[in-house]
Amino acid sequence: AQSVAQPEDQVNVAEGNPLTVKCTYSVSGNPYLFWYVQYPNRGLQFLLKYITGDNLVKGSYGFEAEFNKSQTSFHLKKPSALVSDSALYFCAVSAIGQGNLIFGKGTKLSVKP
């Protein structure tokens, strides 16, 4: 069975500092991996995805994520956090050939000035 774990309910960082939001996954075979962001009272907004190729994936708003197959991780990173990055972040996995996404429970990112 596929699953996603986001071990931190909340991540707090100061503006300008680097941020990392952690994600580990379990799936049979090779995964599709995704990060989405959700602002209050809004739907999910796609940030980036890993399908194949380079393990470092760059996405929207300066975010990037690194796929690590041996550690089954797909951590979200940003070199310099902005207050406007404060939101709820979801990691998701899909098995190749399937459209369904399995989401983690989400991590609340709080960036303080």
Partner: protein, 115 residues
């Protein structure tokens, strides 16, 4: 391009009442999804359509939930009768490809409160 449209944005009903949600996907998108997002949890797939056919409804509580996608475009999700535990945000999503393409486009959702 216009995004995924959902209505209403908010709905408050009493338990045992019925409710319906509407979704209009991005034009040309063959696959449509309904997800349920309970507070503090990640979204969970309820049903996936490809054009007007059901691909996956294994997690849809069929005794009370129903969904249809007439003509392969708009979709409605209905709950009848509602229970307290149905309080959640219902998200609609769509994707262009017919198979194997997870949704990249989500609507803003309908927040349902059952009292």
């Amino acid at each position: 391009e216009a995004g995924v449209a959902q209505s209403p944005r908010y709905k408050i009903i009493e338990k045992r009442q019925s409710v319906a949600f509407w979704c209009n996907p991005i034009s040309g998108h063959a696959t449509l999804y309904w997800y349920q997002q309970i507070l503090g949890q990640g979204p969970k797939l309820l049903i996936q359509f490809q054009n007007n056919g059901v691909v996956d409804d294994s997690q849809l509580p069929k005794d009370r939930f129903s969904a249809e996608r007439l003509k392969g475009v708009d979709s409605t999700l209905k709950i009848q009768p509602a229970k307290l535990e149905d309080s959640a945000v219902y998200l609609c999503a769509s994707s262009l490809r017919e198979t194997g393409q997870p949704p990249l486009h989500f609507g803003n959702g309908t927040r349902l409160t059952v009292t």
